[in-house]
Symmetry: C2
Subunit: 472 residues, 2 copies
């Protein structure tokens, strides 16, 4: 294949352009007509549906129930929590006309739902017996974006937002932590094969209205960080603003402690940029909507297609998400390139000559290896091979992240390291002036960790490690 | 239980108030703070999730793929199709401020997505090989409502909207019909146990921009009709407006033929009003999120709860959606009333005395019957019993509908019959004056059918039957 023109801009040449090329060529997404909005095309939406199913099952496992709250929020609700309104005001989309008339009170298109959910939780919570109240919703939200980029920063995005109310600070804290560890990190590591770091945001980077923001941070293929999901302790800020009180075991009125937490279509951007290469997407098998494509290479005598279709049926019966590519009027090379671009983990290539010998070729997308297998062995071997690919992708992403993560002892060294990847800098070296210096080079503190890479917990502040990086 | 105060306003006394009572007491939904919006509470949302899963599987079975298009549509898009903009203008919510600034072009919050999807289909369709293009999205839409009622008419609702493009009118027509019959009606009859009628809307009642609107119409408990879902042929109206053309087998440019079709959270209202009775909801087992509740009646010696929990585990292992109610500190009667209110199809009541005899009581929500069963027989018998309840509910709803459906020979008789239920009136008797007379009593032509109750198809117009009723 010498001299073949690349389908995509090489990553090393221009990573953002490579990203844009993948979005277009793999038919993932387009820009919408209103600035900052996006169209999610079927191939990408099927991946999002699988993310939703996996995250939703874990959220339900954590005891939360799904509900749905309105898109429109009275402007006055946002104003009840001072930091919240200050944080979100510049990003709001506001409806001023409804049903042909100017509205008396303009309504905000939800940028997030703490306020409206707070209003209803206050009605539903009366007694300590009603707590904890664990809710989640899957919804679209709107935050006006000046520099939009599909999946990463869009004016409208899809997400889940969990909202919980608790009787004590410690219960709220442990729930927020458990969502971060057991729902978000577990999903990102086990399903997306992305070895995210966990930690706490510094005060300046917290969610507007939170007392503590926990985060999952991933490294992209260019060494930059992407915030993949956050879980917030909201203290009693929203509970006080919305009068969310309960009567405790002794009949005393107490104010609730609340949390909120979310992951969004931004994870699609993380998936693309964490695993993609110059040939396109690389999908971890547990996420892939199509895990195996069985390709009819050529079919001169009509015997190949039925054999390939038989493999697809047998794979499906074995619980594998398989599909057939029998478009023999399109050249094999072009179709192989297309499946590479779309990141399907395994290709089973069935051609007339091999078939006569009882052989098919199995190609792995993750490492590009190809090997012939007996047609009778291929179906039974696929589930283990998919598991092997899943593990290999996580191992490769972990290795890539570790190679680009540097322990540093000064802000200067952190700045240099952040040109390559992540810098691990002692937090005691980071004062306001350091944050400003880092910021001047677009480097931020992504999170604070304990020395062994866990959430800060009760780690003394001068032992914390600041993960510094450029970020999307 | 003589003298027990009713939990709900009796249906015969005030049906709309009964409906409102069910929404509140069964914790289904609340009004949102912005007029016409709603909060869908967890118990109702779990039912919606099951509707989504069932409808989504059938839509995928019909070959359509899910995608996602933006919430915000430029105002100019709606104006491209004259009837469409005229139909929707009075109901629009309009965003005029974004990111702190007055927008140069106001954007509309989607009332439906024909226009924005049309714009993208026009890009994606080039050749006859790209057709049919079969897309669907699950989304929220906004239509400003002056007389909102939760689930039935809300300013924001959740729905799916399918949008397809075809190479010929006949292909578009047969797809629109197949969605109505094989997706919507099949789901409503088989899962919701609601025996919907199918037919075509009269011209005045068509979707704005459609050349033909097909509908599923259900009868509610008070004899009124509810439109449960529609499927539209859009002719070439939107394809022309959005320049959706393709090159055919002979290399000639042709204009596409399109369809759109949707069902919404309105089905929740239909479910409540088609099956509910004075004790509350009655849920068909195929839809119910909880099919069986196993209730610990009392547990004086601590032996009952483990036995009940064992039944729940065994039921779950048998594929039944079962849950335990072991809240023995709340009286049994109150809990039984609550599960009736929530419409759980079967209650298995486990009490200490019966348990000593190896007996539990199985109560059916649909017909109120109770019978003792041996504890060893109960789990194996439940799947068949759930199927029996499902069939009985459909039979009862069909019977109720048929008893309130009248063949009539004049507009006067139709008006009288519509006080009770549905009137089947020869379409040839319905002229503009008749429509006006019916309308003066809030009676409308719900749909036109062939004499045997099918879609009109090629039935001569003077043989068609007009189904006339009052409607929600």
């Amino acid at each position: 294949m010498a001299g073949k023109a690349p389908v995509l801009t090489p990553q090393s040449e221009d990573f953002p352009r490579w990203y844009q090329d993948v979005l277009n060529k793999a038919e993932l997404a387009d820009n919408g007509p209103v600035r900052g909005t996006m169209v999610i095309r079927p191939y990408a939406y099927a991946l999002w549906e699988r993310m939703v199913a996996e995250v939703d099952a874990r959220i339900k496992g954590a005891g939360a129930e799904n509900a749905y709250f309105p898109l429109f929020i009275p402007e006055s609700y946002l104003q009840r929590e001072a930091e919240h309104v200050e944080g979100f005001s510049p990003e709001l989309a506001i409806v001023t006309v409804g049903g042909g008339k100017e509205l008396e009170e303009p309504v905000v298109v939800r940028p997030t739902s703490e306020t409206v959910i707070g209003e209803f939780m206050a009605k539903w919570v009366q007694s300590y017996r009603d707590l904890p109240l664990l809710l989640n919703q899957w919804a679209n939200v709107v935050r006006w974006e000046l520099r939009p980029r599909v999946f990463l920063r869009t004016s409208e995005f899809l997400w889940q937002e969990g909202h919980t109310a608790h009787a004590s600070e410690s219960d709220a804290r442990s729930y927020a932590e458990s969502i971060l560890r057991n729902v978000y990190r577990e999903f990102m590591v086990d399903v997306l094969a992305i070895p995210v770091l966990i930690g706490a945001k510094i005060a300046e980077e917290r969610f507007a209205g939170a007392t503590n923001t926990l985060t999952c941070e991933a490294m992209m293929g260019d060494g930059k960080a992407l915030q993949m999901g956050t879980s917030h302790e909201l203290g009693q800020n929203f509970a006080t603003a919305f009068d969310m009180t309960f009567s405790d075991e002794h009949g005393e009125q107490q104010v609730c402690w609340t949390t909120s937490w979310g992951v969004s279509t931004r994870m699609m951007g993380g998936l693309i940029m964490a695993h993609g290469d110059d040939a396109g997407l690389r999908l971890p098998p547990r996420l892939a909507a199509t895990q195996v494509v069985v390709i009819v290479v050529r079919d001169d005598d009509g015997a190949v297609t039925p054999a390939a279709a038989g493999l697809v049926a047998d794979l499906a019966a074995a619980g594998v998400r398989a599909r057939l590519d029998d478009r023999v009027s399109t050249g094999f090379g072009r179709r192989a390139t297309e499946w590479e671009l779309k990141g399907v983990p395994l290709r089973v290539e069935v051609g007339p000559r091999d078939l006569a010998d009882g052989i098919v070729v199995v190609a792995r997308r993750d490492d590009g290896t190809k090997e012939p297998r007996s047609i009778t062995d291929v179906v039974p071997s696929v589930p283990a091979l998919l598991a092997e690919v899943q593990d290999a992708m996580l191992a490769a992403a972990t290795d890539a992240r570790d190679r680009r993560t540097f322990d540093v002892g000064s802000v200067d060294a952190a700045l240099e390291a952040a040109g390559e990847g992540f810098a691990r800098l002692p937090w005691r070296l980071v004062d306001a002036a350091a944050i400003a210096r880092l910021g001047a080079s677009a480097v931020t503190v992504r999170c604070l960790q304990s020395p062994d890479g866990d959430l800060p917990g009760s780690t003394p502040e001068d032992e914390l490690v600041a993960i510094c990086a450029r970020a999307y």
